[in-house]
Amino acid sequence: MANYTDELVDFDVALEKYDPVLGFEVHVELNTKTKMFSDAPNAFGDAPNTNVTPVDLGLPGVLPTVNKTAVEYSILIGLALNCQIAEKCGFARKNYFYPDTPKNFQTSQYDDPIAHDGYLDIELEDGEVFRVEIERAHMEEDAGKLTHMGGAAGRIQGADYSLVDYNRAGVPLVEIVTKPIVGAGKRAPELARAYVAAIREIVKNLGVSDAKMERGNVRCDANVSLMPKGAEKFGTRTETKNVNSLRAVEHAVRFEIERHAAVLESGQSILQETRHWHEDTRSTTSGRPKSDADDYRYFPEPDLVPIVTTAEWIEELRARLPEPPSERRKRLKAEWGYADKEFRDVVNAGVLDEIEATIAAGASAAVARKWWMGEIARLAKAADKEIAALGVTPQTIVELDSLINAKKINDKIARQVLEYVLAGEGTPSEIVEKRSLAVVNDEGALGKAVDDAIAAMPDVVEKIKGGKLQAIGALMGPVMKATRGQADAGRVREIVMEKLGL
């Protein structure tokens, strides 16, 4: 086998000798109410073969009709990717026999995509911006879902039979195809991840896709080839199919670079083929040979009339475009005054919207970050949920913060109150009231608790008097215990200092 090798060349070594060329085909499932060419609901997770009409099953006699919303969503994606929108475009049939494709052809676009010749500026972690040229974005329909039964790990090899669910058949897709991406060098894996992340973010921000990679809303096929450094002619590429997480995109590109280098170094040549990504071993295996001459016998779909886009329609859609995510991030970072790392952590945690809303509700940028990146993130992790899915409202944060500022509760109590809020006990104020959680401000009670602690811990007192002020912390425990945690730590500290004459 020409291409078989277990060997990999170390990434850095590979990049000393070769320039990688990347290319991506990203499929985005649109979240329209109905499918691309039928009235069937476009919904995830329903009982198999329930979201189907005669059209989706490819019954004899049926005809497709175009979902206008899907066309508008496709144009929005095209505009967000700085593409030209075709004045007139049509659908074509891509003919191939496969049981997940009810008509045995996929209705797609061929030589006249709805959007073409755009670009996307990708910002890498260190702020370097890399422009990725977009060749085209075209509309098509998804296939059904096959489940292979009786074999190992759901693979078709060795299966006894396969089940097919046509709920997904006909779900609108936009396929975004890049031009070859040259010059990423050793940042290729990182760029791959950032590119797919940017596409996901854009379609989510547009509201045209649920953009959940784990559900297949965004799916990436990654093309990789290597050419000797300084060469201009691209090497033979492989296409790694269905790399469906950001981490996997990065790993798959890295793996293919290392594998290609090893094949080339051993004097063999790369076979043009599709590759399968395996998350468990973080490696790819050979799929099927693929050539540019794969014959899908495309021809214009005779059951549909061309789509004509008027300038007015496009401008109306352009006016609907939200602020691009990258520009929004730049603006928010400046407004909030976060440090680079702080802001990056916020972005990575996916809580930009939440923090923005919390600040809008009246909290300071620092307070909003403290809560969302601190206690709320901790609770989400403990509950194994997305931070946003916990259901914390900006109002809750603002209220907790004002209770702290009014010295009614301390930070520790505030965190408890948050848990009670999430348990549905009411607003923070109601909970503080109901559970009698207000901080003990009774000077007499506090003074007594401090006297007791001083009496109980003479060695600590000696240290404090000796100048080790941080030892005050050791007194805090018994005081908090005596006041059931409701003492204001700052005030306790002041009392200790007073009592010890410091």
Partner: protein
């Protein structure tokens, strides 16, 4: 034999409306006729007696009750109709005359069937055709040939031989057909009936099993021009389920047919297409054609000569475009979701092999021939030379029509080059079979409407005269068609169809 079966649809509708006849009587008379003669004709693949009688009884009850509901009945309510078995129907099998779909029941109705149900026309059953509408003789049906009522040894045309024969044999006053390259008009010509291919998009295709989507069109089959007009007005109109359907209904078809029966064509320019006559057309066909011209002239029509030089490429272009679309449209018949599934007799049981075995066993030779042709024509490296060139020819043919319609209001030609030929005489020669559609195919390639009306007999067999009109101008066809029909009747003193030989016990015994 009940006289009811000899009435035209409009005559029957009048008697139903006046209460002289009930729909149940009319439906029963046709069911009796089917029972009597269809053993010999084999026009029907399925007879829908129970439902047809139930719908008839419903119409009779509404009419008997009177009032608004009776007033609101469609003019054709209660008039029975036969449906080409390429059009899907709930409650009756739909086979496309293919083993592939034997026993398949559609869970939905075609749009035209919804309209027929809404208008309460009792459906007598489903009529025979060439498998998936591929053929010109109905000999390619998987369920036996249909015989021509004028001569049981001859073909009834195709693909819609069943609908045409049923109407010609008085088994139904009306039928639905589909016309991709002449499948309504050529059977109409050889059975002495009227058939119309409307403007592309005038009638929804939703629920007509697609042969070649860009060419297919559903249309009426009847014994009079007026009846076809009535039926086209019923089934036509925009359908949101068919993106290629016209935005507006074509109006005034019935009025045009009525106007035509006055027999006055003063000021109408009728264009003779130079390329669709003469060589290749039987002398008897040519003679009836020329007599028709004389009749039209006598009625005041101005006869002009037009040339459509690209029509000579029409057959070639058609036999590239049609199979290309066929190869894709018929891909869905793979045994995975519906229809018959055939397992390979030996070797591994993979999905590809099950699909292969199913398609090998389920499709007949003509269907396979066209799938193979189309697959080839669309293949990489051949697409431009075949499909691409054919599409260019299509544009040239459209331009020929545009130019011709500058000079003429309607065009005229023989519908088919020959009268009905004998069963089995062309089944071994596909090209000879294809040549039958040489005069009908240009209309499909250009999307323009066409009608066939009987133009007399040659050697005792019907000859069809075809009129073609510009897109959306179907009403011109109904006017000139009705005029020629009237002129021929006036000349002969009787209706054309009354010359049809009776299909009596003796003939049936002879052929049965």
């Amino acid at each position: 034999m009940s006289e009811l079966i000899h009435l035209s649809a409009s005559e029957l509708a009048t008697k139903l409306h006046s209460g002289e006849v009930t729909s149940v009587q009319a439906v029963q008379a046709h069911l009796d006729r089917i029972a009597e003669v269809d053993g010999a004709i084999n026009a029907f693949l399925h007879v829908n007696a129970e439902e047809a009688l139930a719908v008839a009884a419903e119409v009779d009850a509404i009419r008997a009750a009177g009032g608004e509901a009776a007033q609101a009945l469609h003019p054709l309510a209660g008039v029975p109709i036969a449906i080409k078995d390429l059009i899907v129907t709930k409650g009756q099998p739909t086979t496309a005359a293919s083993k592939m779909l034997e026993g398949w029941m559609s869970p939905y109705d075609a749009t035209v069937i919804e309209k027929i149900r809404a208008a309460k026309l009792p459906m007598l059953g489903k009529t025979n055709l060439d498998e998936f509408a591929m053929g010109s003789s109905t000999e390619h049906s998987a369920f036996g040939v249909t015989r021509n009522p004028w001569d049981l040894n001859r073909i009834p045309g195709g693909s819609g031989g069943g609908s045409a024969a049923a109407v010609a044999a008085f088994e139904a006053p009306l039928a639905l057909g589909t016309d991709t390259g002449g499948s309504i008009r050529q059977p109409g010509a050889v059975t002495g009936t009227v058939g119309v291919k409307p403007t592309y998009g005038a009638v929804s295709r939703y629920g007509a099993i697609a042969m070649a989507s860009s060419l297919d069109q559903i249309g009426p089959v009847s014994r009079t021009v007026l009846d076809s007009a009535l039926l086209q007005e019923l089934i036509g109109g925009h359908d949101p389920k068919d993106s290629t359907s016209l935005p507006n209904s074509l109006e005034g078809l019935v009025a045009a047919a009525v106007e035509g029966t006055a027999g006055d064509l003063t000021g109408v320019r009728v264009g003779i297409i130079k390329e669709l006559q003469g060589e290749g057309y039987e002398p008897g066909v040519q003679a009836r054609f020329e007599e028709s011209l004389e009749l039209l002239k006598s009625a005041g029509a101005e006869i002009v000569q037009v040339s459509c030089p690209n029509f000579k490429y029409a057959l070639g272009a058609y036999y590239l475009i049609m199979p290309s679309e066929v190869s894709s449209n018929l891909a869905k018949f793979d045994g995975v979701r519906y229809g018959n599934r055939v397992l390979p007799q030996e070797g591994p049981m993979t999905i590809e092999r099950v699909m292969g075995a199913t398609r090998a066993a389920g499709f007949g030779d003509e269907v396979k021939r066209r799938i193979i042709l189309g697959t080839y024509a669309l293949s990489a490296g051949y697409y431009d030379a075949y499909y691409g060139s054919a599409q260019k020819v299509r544009t040239l043919i459209q331009r020929d029509f545009d130019a011709a319609f500058e000079a003429a209001d309607v065009l005229i030609s023989p519908t088919a080059p020959t009268v009905a030929f004998e069963l089995g005489s062309k089944t071994d020669d596909p090209l000879a079979m294809y040549l039958n559609d040489v005069a009908t195919i240009p209309a499909n390639l250009a999307g323009v409407p066409g009608i066939t009306v009987p133009g007399g007999l040659s050697e005792g067999l019907p000859v069809g005269i075809q009129f073609l009109a510009p897109a959306y101008e179907d009403k011109r066809l109904y006017k000139v068609g009705a005029a020629l029909e009237t002129l021929l009747e006036q000349r002969s003193g009787h209706s054309f169809i009354s010359q049809a030989p009776s299909i009596d016990a003796a003939t049936i015994g002879q052929k049965g």
